[in-house]
């Protein structure tokens, strides 16, 4: 490589092979050089990912020379890696394996398809022997997993992939079964999950063994919580390998049965016999054979014995893991529709939530204090998992849960009252939030009171009692004092509901006490979220009872939360653990709830709108924070409330034609044009003018009317010029009545209300010209109606322009007698009804134009006759009615 062989820029293809070679030379170990430092690998990793050095993707215009260069560079990269993988030095082998996994992910499609088989076998050789270093095993597992994942994206490689994956099952199970480190198990489980998701059929034959292996691992008690989670997810995925409904159901049944059996043991003496029997009876109806135990027959008995001998800790961890497995089974998708044993699931939830550690009197002598202590120490975890399960059920079953909603509600309300631990309260709030969101107003009716009472207890800033109860419960619960706290809590809840007004006053006047405030921020956030959901879903629900109270609470909390300035949420971002919620989260939750309270409909205008707006405006200043983002959104949402606007209904004929906007004006001539040219019946020409430039005079007219409301003179003179034409037209009208109507309508196919006015006014005028006294009578009846002047001039003028001498005279005399504005309304009103007829006619005309079929034409004209005849009574009928309204 020449010293000054420069490339163009960072995007130049020539740059990539050079960089790759440099990396290979300087940072990737080779056979002869010792491996310097693992951090070298991370340099390689980031360089390859950033510059996509292995992608070999080029645009067409690139010189072949560069492409070849790149190709040889990648070739040598792969050769080096393969050499490293088969090296005896564990660190080099590890490096090679890892980088090969990266290559599987990054390299070009052609290269991957050409060589994945070779790579697979290279990697496979490191999984099998027992003596390999753990690191190499883990790296091999992840690399193979990546290889299979990439292979899974090529549908035509499915078969090959399945056969490859089949070779993996035994070695992976071996890894899982032997006493390796947790990292190796994790790698193996991950690989197993990949195989099940991408190549389910390869697991099919080994289904039972795999299940047994995973279950025995779960029951072994050697795994950390993290590992147990992974195992649960893997077990939940397993039915996918068969992909049928029965398999999923069987797994669910086995898991539930196993949980219940374990719970029987754990809850001995803490619940009635009937309860546990019922749960199992629901799962296995009497007369039916129970399913084979989870994890196969042999291991199950063994495990049970072991479990009995081993600590109860193990019992609990396996129960919670299996519950997690249930959650995962419910929430992950499955290729076919499945049947869920909903009642056993809910029975399990109910069974666990009811247990509070208290002993029934009858069983008192059979339970030792140590047993009770143990159960109570584990109960919160158990409850937490069961609430997760409940959340998963609600999420997945959705509205099909309706028949059980009442059950769940009863359970939750009872549990909520006695639940005093912050973590659990957070979960209960979130369950309630999901319930409210999914089932809407129907469930809000029943839950509103409970949510409000509890939220008040948790949120009331000065109510230190709540804080004390919760905090003491927090510390004591682990030593089994749930019973006691429950009583205290209950007592408190009743006082809280009883003296809500008293509390309200205190909210009003006292300032927040910072102590006890920071401790329970997550609970408060959860309570605010639940309130927000309630307001969103059922804000109008019996609002007179609680809305004022809640609105006041929310504005107080939001004001207090934001009083001490805005917490910077930068700190939160920099912290690695997202579980810790902070002041910023609390502020955000408070403002969100406040927005819901302002927007949610109530009987009265939101009383704290001004304060709320002030808060949002201030929050908006904190540029760059989530809070400012939300405040901006809140102001946008509130704008409709602050400045209510009646937006015009675009494209729809408004009933009150108050103004002629420009948009309509623009459309008008076009429509006129298209319609007017097509139709050559005498009538259509008549009012519009004789020349080919038919629409122009009329358009001018229209413009003038629009331009000046007062200039009635001009339109009146215009028609008089055309009077002869009009006369002709009216002659023709009698002869061509059937043709006339379509033609007029045809002229007005566009979507402009004003146009309709105009045309229908014409129709109306014609009818009058047809000349019975009655109609004029009707008109004069309507004069007194009050409509603004601008509104009315238009139709009147049109009618003048299109009607005969007599008609004009009539109008003139009317306007002489009455206020000119009023006289014109009459025609306007007429128009309303007449127009309806013409709509129909017009549509028919359009359809004939489209279809051109003789048959339908006949039909149309027939109908036209009918409707034109009908139009007379319409006028008479409709107007008195609407007047009386």
């Amino acid at each position: 490589m020449a010293l000054f062989d420069h490339f163009h820029n960072v995007y130049d293809v020539a740059f990539k092979p050079r960089l790759l070679r440099t990396l290979l030379k300087d940072h990737v170990p080779d056979q002869n050089q010792p491996f310097r430092s693992p951090s070298d690998l991370s340099i390689v990793l980031s360089a390859i990912k950033t510059h996509r050095l292995l992608s070999e993707s080029v645009t067409e215009s690139i010189d072949q020379k560069h492409i070849d260069k790149w190709k040889t560079a990648v070739d040598s990269w792969v050769d080096r890696l393969l050499a490293l993988v088969s090296c005896n030095m564990p660190d080099k082998c590890w490096a090679g394996t890892c980088l090969l996994g990266l290559t599987c992910q990054e390299c070009s499609t052609d290269r991957f398809l050409a060589s994945y088989s070779v790579w697979f076998h290279k990697l496979l050789s490191h999984i099998q022997p027992a003596a390999e270093s753990h690191f190499v095993k883990v790296a091999s597992c992840t690399s193979i997993s990546d290889l299979l994942t990439r292979l899974g994206s090529f549908p035509n490689a499915k078969k090959d992939g399945t056969s490859h994956a089949g070779k993996l099952i035994q070695p992976v199970l071996k890894l899982l079964n032997e006493d390796g480190s947790e990292a190796v198990w994790e790698g193996a489980v991950h690989l197993l999950c990949t195989i099940v998701t991408f190549y389910p059929s390869s697991v099919q034959h080994h289904y039972d063994i795999v299940e047994a292996a995973i279950v025995s691992k779960i029951m072994s008690g050697k795994c950390s919580v993290n590992m147990l989670e992974k195992l649960a997810a893997c077990l939940a995925l397993l039915p996918k390998s068969r992909g049928d409904e029965a398999c999923w159901f069987l797994m669910m049944q086995k898991v539930l049965l196993s949980i219940n059996v374990n719970l029987n043991e754990a809850f001995q003496g803490l619940e009635e016999e009937a309860k546990c029997n019922e749960a199992i009876r629901l799962l296995v109806p009497p007369g039916k054979d129970p399913p084979p135990p989870l994890g196969g027959k042999k291991t199950y008995g063994e495990v049970l014995d072991k479990a009995a001998r081993k600590s109860e800790q193990l019992l609990m961890s396996s129960v919670t893991t299996l519950m997690l497995c249930c959650c995962k089974m419910l929430t992950t998708s499955y290729p076919v529709q499945v049947t869920v044993p909903i009642r056993p699931l809910l029975a399990l939830v109910g069974r666990v939530l009811v247990v509070d550690g208290s002993l029934s009197q009858a069983l008192l002598p059979f339970v030792t204090a140590i047993q009770q202590e143990f159960i109570c120490s584990q109960l919160p975890t158990l409850h937490s998992y069961v609430l997760d399960l409940l959340t998963a059920i609600i999420k997945r079953v959705r509205s099909q849960l309706l028949p059980h909603a009442a059950d769940i509600m009863r359970l939750l309300t009872v549990y909520f009252r006695m639940c005093a631990l912050p973590e659990l309260r957070i979960k209960v709030y979130s369950v309630i939030k999901i319930l409210l969101m999914s089932m809407g107003i129907g469930i809000a009716v029943h839950l509103a009171e409970e949510v409000i009472n509890n939220a008040f207890a948790d949120l009331n800033p000065i109510d230190q009692g709540t804080g004390d109860v919760s905090s003491s419960a927090n510390s004591k619960a682990s030593t089994g004092a749930l019973l006691q706290t429950r009583h205290r809590k209950r007592k408190h809840a009743t006082t809280a509901t009883g003296s809500s007004e008293e509390q309200l006053d205190r909210v009003n006047f006292e300032k927040e006490v910072p102590k006890g405030y920071t401790t329970f921020i997550p609970v408060k956030i959860a309570a605010l979220e639940a309130l927000e959901a309630l307001l969103t879903v059922g804000g109008a629900l019996r609002s007179e009872h609680w809305r004022l109270k809640v609105d006041l609470l929310l504005i107080t909390i939001a004001t207090n939360a934001c009083k001490g300035g805005w917490a910077d949420d930068e700190r939160v971002i920099s912290l690695p653990s997202d579980a810790t919620s902070t002041q910023a989260d609390f502020q955000l939750a408070a403002l969100r709830a406040l927005l819901a309270s302002l927007l949610s409909p109530a009987r009265v205008r939101p009383p704290y709108l001004a304060q709320g707006l002030e808060l949002f405006r201030r929050g908006k200043q904190e540029t760059g924070t989530r809070l400012a983002e939300f405040c901006t959104h809140a102001l946008l949402a509130l704008e409709v409330l602050i400045h209510p606007r009646a937006l015009p209904l675009e494209d729809f004929p408004t009933v009150n034609r108050k103004s002629f906007d420009n948009g309509a004006n623009h459309k008008y001539p076009e429509s006129m044009y298209s319609g007017g040219q097509d139709l050559n019946t005498p009538f259509s020409r008549g009012p519009l003018g004789m020349a080919l430039g038919v629409p122009n005079p009329d358009y001018d007219l229209y413009d003038k009317w629009l331009g000046s409301d007062d200039e009635i003179d001009i339109p009146v003179t215009d028609p008089s010029k055309n009077r002869n034409n009009v006369d002709d037209a009216s002659e023709a009208f009698r002869d061509h009545q059937t043709e006339k109507l379509p033609s007029v309508d045809g002229a007005s196919s566009p979507k402009v209300a004003k146009k309709i006015d105009h045309r229908s006014a014409a129709t109306g005028a014609d009818m009058r010209e047809g000349g019975t006294e009655e109609e004029i009578m009707v008109e004069s009846h309507q004069f007194p109606e009050s409509i603004s002047q601008e509104e009315s001039t238009f139709p009147a003028v049109i009618s003048a322009s299109t009607s005969t001498k007599i008609e004009i005279g009539k109008v003139a005399s009317d306007s002489g007698a009455l206020d000119p504005g009023d006289s014109e309304i009459a025609t306007g009103n007429d128009v309303l009804v007449a127009k309806g007829d013409s709509f129909a006619i017009q549509g028919e005309n359009a359809s004939t134009a489209v279809s051109n079929s003789e048959r339908s034409k006949g039909l149309v004209s027939e109908l036209d006759n009918e409707s034109s005849m009908d139009s007379f009574p319409d006028i008479v009928d409709a107007d008195p009615d609407s007047d009386s309204e």
Binding site: M89, L102, I342, Q400, P403, R410, I441, L649, E885
Partner: protein, 481 residues
Amino acid sequence: MREKKMDWSGGREALVVCSDRSMSVGITVWDMVSGDQLLHIPTCAASPHGLLCLREQFLVASQIHRHGSLGGGAIFIWPLNKPQSPLRNYPMEAIGPVSCSKDGVYIVGGAPSGNAYIWEVADGRLLKTWRAHHKSLTSMVFSDDDSLLISGSDDGMIRVWSMISLLDIADCGRFPSLFHSLLEHTSSITGLLSISGSSSPVLVSSSLDGTCKVWDLIRGRLLRTRVFPTAITAIVLDPGEQLLFSGSADGRIFVSMLDTGLVVDPFKVPEDRPIVLNGHNRSITALAFSRLGLVSASRDCAAHLWDVASGVIIRRFNHPKGAITNMVVIPKSSLLSVTNHQRFSNQFRVSLLDKYPQPGNSSMGMITLLPLCCSHRVHLPTIGFQSTVSLNQQILDLEQECTPGAIQMKLETSIENRMWAARMTKHVMEMNKHLQSRLLDLMQNRLLLSADSTAARKRKRAMLESSRIQEEEQSQLPSYQ
């Protein structure tokens, strides 16, 4: 036919109508745009409000004639992509209006006797029957969030039910299922519409007494009454829920602003005059909205598609076989045949609707889950590439030497290194030894030869020897691994 197939790929709509005259009339499906007849399903005569489209995959129609079973009613369900094999259900009594929840999980039906039925569609269970009204039910509808059921009857009564309480298995009566009885209408209810807006649901009802009324569902209060000159037989709202279209018994359709009465606007003209769409000459039986505009069906054997803005009829559909009593608008794509569906196994399942309710305790409480929307892309989100994460983690481990794995690796590496060093040392020593012996040989030779040979021969021999030694040295160097 060729043309039709091409059209089917698009997002076009189809109009489904049926009559109540006789079973032979059946269901007709038209293309909304071209007006072509797409499909005809024989043997169906549905009562008013007795036709619906379930999850855009099935047509459900309650049959007006008793068919098949004595004294009982009939509800037929046709899969839209396979209409030749309907599911025939025979409930206890004839069913008039039917309705389904927004997600298609439940079907409710009302009988002339005043009884109402709720079925779960997926497994066909009859979840509840109860006496909803004293008179015949004429219309049923779910609230926007599916949590309330609203029923209207022949005597003008509207009742609002809570689904949760209706379906409560335990049924301990703690929560009353009847929410409100709305009694203001004086004649048969002809249409019910629930308006979206989650926190304050509003109901619009129409009646033969010539009024449309707007109700606050939660409080059960009458908000607005709109009086029309004739009996109103059908109502519909435009998709933006601004305009109310009321079809009347004489064929007119009144268009009016929907005034829910929730906003008190002092500047508003209290009663505006409705616009009238005239096109039918007999009573309107059904109104619906498609993407193209309003569709109206009438007893005059025609359905019209209106451009609402201009009030013109864009298209008219003639149904010479009988008066149209029911109409729904469905997406045309749902008519696609089974073979074109990629995953038939995951299609929404419909079972035969039960005739009798099952006793509560006998079942295991199974629920057939609806498929998740994204379920055909099963594995995309779950598993991703892992090696980068894993590699980074391992590098970290190695640098900090905190995990057993990392320590083991270090250990093994150093053992390997030591072994290699030992091997090298051994080898070098061997080489040394070899060289030494060679040197000794050489010296010995030289001593021996110096006695009897010429200087030239000596030199030549020595050079040969040394080059051989070099070669041997080269070949014996162990390769570094």
